[in-house]
């Protein structure tokens, strides 16, 4: 057991836990942040995606110790004061959600993608999101949501 100091969605959180425990399980079981999902446990589906210092990471294969000192953002940390993040709004407006289990990971991966490529080409969207699975296979709609988010944030910028 170790005392781990985390910064999650801008808040300091202290957990006493095994340092090798997956960040996913600490977020869900210790911190009550169930928006981050278990999908495969080996970084092959992206359901567990969180942002570590702005970069997407598979929280299922990230030891909680490794996230110490990072700014962790989960899906719960995106909307500010009830206002959806533009990427969330784009997914909602585009209806790019079926069962929605992959959605938190897709949204966070898109946030990171648009950070790197504010106006991504389709090839960049595919490259950026290809590690995230949607078994409802709503990929075309998700790509449309990414384009919509890029257009919305581009206008603001």
């Amino acid at each position: 057991m170790a005392t781990i100091r985390l910064s999650v969605n801008g808040k300091a959180r202290i957990v006493d836990t095994e340092p090798q425990r997956p960040l996913l399980e600490v977020l869900r079981e210790d911190l009550g942040l169930t928006g981050t999902k278990y999908g495969c446990g080996e970084g092959q589906c992206g359901s567990c995606t969180v942002l570590l210092d702005g970069k997407p990471a598979f929280s299922c294969v990230t030891a909680v110790r490794a996230a110490e000192g990072c700014q962790i953002v989960t899906i719960e940390g995106l909307a500010a004061d009830g206002t959806l993040h533009p990427v969330q709004q784009a997914f909602l407006d585009e209806g790019a959600v079926q069962c929605g289990y992959c959605t938190p990971g897709m949204v966070l991966k898109t946030v990171a993608l648009l950070d790197n490529h504010p106006q991504p080409t389709d090839a960049q969207i595919v490259d950026g999101l290809n590690g995230n699975l949607c078994r409802c296979s709503d990929y075309a709609r998700i790509m449309a949501a990414v384009r919509r988010a890029a257009a919305a944030t581009g206008k603001k910028g």
Binding site: T34, E42, Y101
Partner: protein, 695 residues
């Protein structure tokens, strides 16, 4: 306990949960699919709160297919209220009527009409009550109108909140629905038939929604189950003592079932590892996917459940045919692999069991739990939160039983979520299919005889939609080597793959264009319409004349569950890997009067992409009772990289009953690809996943 008492208890509890107000009892006769809940069946369908809030109840569940929004739209349409006035309660055996399982595209044709009739009856009550309030005689009330949830008359307003507070109407509400209740015809719809955003999206994009695997209860433990190392292996011995020494761990053995629960998932994994290290198993010989299709044929049971559809005499037809062709088609086992593996939370309190789980059959899971634990069904409550995908793969309640057993032993609520590896290996599979077809062409080069047999996978869409004088369609059961059950649209995918691929072979033998050949054999106008619509938009006739090296085009059509679909596609063939790449798909679909075009488009796009998985890559491999590719890294499902140019044509037939649409749009992509690969390579493809000749 009598049905009446139980029903009373449940309604009282419902009132506590939903707030004071009046109940409208929808006592429309239940169809076959809706029976099965036995004594637990509730009839409560619609609740109007004193604040005018409207709650619609359905035993159907939401798993991303859009049932929640569709049923809310159905109610709002008939009540004449804005969509956001309607709240849905679904899949809760204590609160909702047993609408049967959510399967077979049944919500649209069977449940939506029940909701519409109940809502229309409520509107009639509102009109009658308003008429009395405004001193209008009953027949004059027919001239009153509900607009935005209220009746306006002489500057006064009477709405659903007034109706809910009107005590003299309570008795009327509790009566059976009037038999003559009519619903709004499709041509007059204000809300149905127009694209509506799903009502549940905000919670999903913010991560606020609690899926079954996200449910947390006070003192809850995390459970893990010991699985055999191979199919059919039996447990000789196991020692739970080391695990039981671990802090907070409960370990249980019940015959061959061994499981543990611990304060965290990590602690549960460690306890399970300690248990697993002591387990002694006895393995048994198991078949392998290498000889799967031979196995299915060898183990065929033609005498069991014989199902044959026959027209004319297929023997005579084949004997008289000028040209005879024969081929067999193979479709391997595939897994649903929903993003959320099976999950359940179980809690026992005072001999009552409450379970939250992702299943499409809450009523039968409740029954199963009651039987397993020897309690009356009304002591068991199953709640189904919107869950993370099923595709026909979650008709059962394995995780619910496992969690309930652990929770009983631990004296704490227990959550069980299957790992991805468990979901691959222990969830049931889509049945593999061996399909044999023989057909004959007559002197006019039309199909005169057609004999098709499906081994093992099922009879859905097995009969041909083409006009053929002599046909026989047989489903022959086998002894399946893997646990198999339903998958989106059942065997219709396999049967359409075989029929549509073979139809192209016949077209070639007849020297006809595949489109022209099909149209000349079709009487079904709806099917012809979608085929023509897809072909025209795709530019089939023009593109058949232009050849691009390394690419090919193909088409296919089919009908199932009272809807029709056709697709044209273009593929590019990679000669090195043999894996075709889907470049473009144009698909036309028609399912009667469209209820929500926005959601329908999602379902059709999702079906095409999901169907492209088994068509191009998915195949469960097994040997010695183990899966050899039970990981997303090895079992390749569709990804963003696979998305082609997609065009969807939705034909709206307001003159036809609405049919369900979450399944049939999946059935034509595989044969369209197979036919396109032939077009590109000149080689016929008769098995999935589809591979072009290499080199």
């Amino acid at each position: 306990m009598s049905t009446v008492n139980q029903s009373t208890v449940n309604r009282r509890e419902f009132l506590e949960l939903a707030g004071a107000g009046l109940l409208i009892v929808a006592a429309a006769p239940l169809s076959d699919a809706q029976r099965g809940g036995g004594a637990g069946t509730l009839e409560t369908r619609l609740h109007i709160g004193e604040d005018g809030a409207i709650t619609v109840l359905s035993g159907k569940i939401e798993e991303g297919q859009g049932a929640l929004t569709e049923l809310a739209m159905a109610a709002a349409e008939e009540l004449r209220v804005p969509l956001d006035r309607v709240r849905m309660v679904m899949g809760d055996t204590d609160q909702t009527p047993n609408d049967g399982g959510t399967a077979g595209s049944g919500t649209t044709p069977r449940t939506a009409p029940l909701v519409r009739r109940a809502a229309a009856a409520a509107r009639s009550l509102l009109l009658a009550a308003a008429g009395r309030q405004f001193g209008q005689p009953v027949d004059a009330a027919a001239r009153l109108e509900v607009v935005d949830g209220a009746v306006l008359y002489g500057g006064k307003k009477y709405g659903y909140a007034d109706l809910a507070r009107s005590p003299e109407l309570a008795a009327a509400y509790k009566e059976a629905l009037p038999a003559g209740t009519t619903v709004t015809p499709a041509k007059d719809w204000q809300l149905l038939g127009k694209p509506q955003a799903r009502l549940d999206l905000r919670e999903l994009v913010t991560g606020a929604h609690r899926f079954p695997s996200d449910i947390v209860r006070p003192g809850m433990l995390y459970g893990r189950v010991l699985r055999p190392p191979s199919y059919g292996a039996t447990l000789d011995s196991v020692d739970l003592s080391e695990a039981r020494k671990m802090p907070g761990v409960t370990a249980v053995r019940d015959g061959g079932f061994v499981a543990c629960a611990a304060p965290t998932t990590l602690a549960a994994r460690k306890a399970l590892a300690a248990i697993s290290a002591t387990a002694q198993w006895k393995a048994v010989e198991q078949p392998s996917s290498d000889d799967l299709f031979g196995y299915l044929k060898q183990h065929a049971k033609p005498q069991e459940r014989p199902q044959a559809q026959v027209r004319g005499s297929v023997e005579k037809g084949l004997a008289e045919a000028r040209t005879r062709l024969k081929a067999s088609y193979q479709v391997p086992y595939v897994q649903h692999a929903p993003m959320e593996p099976r999950a359940a939370v179980a809690e026992w309190q005072n001999g009552r069991l409450t379970v939250w789980t992702g299943t499409s059959n809450p009523a039968s899971v409740r029954q199963q739990l009651a039987e397993t634990f020897g309690v009356a069904p009304d002591r068991v409550r199953v709640l189904v939160p919107h869950f993370g995908g099923g595709f026909g793969g979650k008709h059962t309640g394995e995780a619910a039983t496992e969690a309930a057993l652990l929770a009983k032993e631990a004296g704490h609520p227990v959550a069980v979520q299957w790992t991805r590896a468990e979901e691959f290996m222990w969830a049931y599979f889509r049945p593999a299919a061996l399909i044999e077809i023989e057909a004959g062409l007559d002197a006019a080069n039309t199909i005169s005889a057609w004999d098709i047999a499906n081994y093992n996978s099922g009879a859905s869409a097995l009969d041909t939609p083409y006009r053929i004088r002599h046909t026989r369609a047989r489903f022959i059961a086998s002894d399946p080597p893997l646990r198999q059950s339903s998958y989106r649209v059942l065997a219709a995918t396999a049967n359409n793959f075989a029929r549509e691929a073979f139809t192209d072979e016949l077209a070639e033998a007849a020297g006809k264009d595949p489109l022209e050949f099909r149209l000349s054999h079709l009487d079904n106008e709806r099917l012809k319409n979608v085929l023509n619509a897809a072909a025209q938009r795709f530019g089939w006739v023009e593109r058949r004349k232009k050849r691009r090296p390394g690419t090919g085009i193909g088409l296919a059509c089919g009908t199932e569950k009272n809807s029709v679909v056709a697709a044209c596609c273009e593929v590019e063939v990679d000669r090195a890997s043999g894996v075709p790449r889907l470049i473009e798909v144009v698909q036309a679909f028609e399912c009667g009067a469209i209820l929500n075009p926005a959601n329908l488009r999602s379902q059709v796009e999702g079906c095409i992409m999901m169907g492209a998985g088994p068509a191009l890559r998915e195949e469960i491999l097994f040997k010695d009772g183990k899966l050899t590719n039970a990981r997303f890294a090895a079992y390749r499902v569709p990804r963003f990289r696979d998305v082609p140019k997609l065009e969807i044509i939705l034909l709206d037939r307001k003159d036809l009953e609405s049919a369900g649409a979450g399944e049939t749009p999946i059935i034509v992509i595989a044969p369209a690809i197979a036919n396109a690969v032939f077009d590109a390579t000149g080689k016929r493809v008769r098995s999935m996943p589809i591979r072009a000749p290499r080199g």
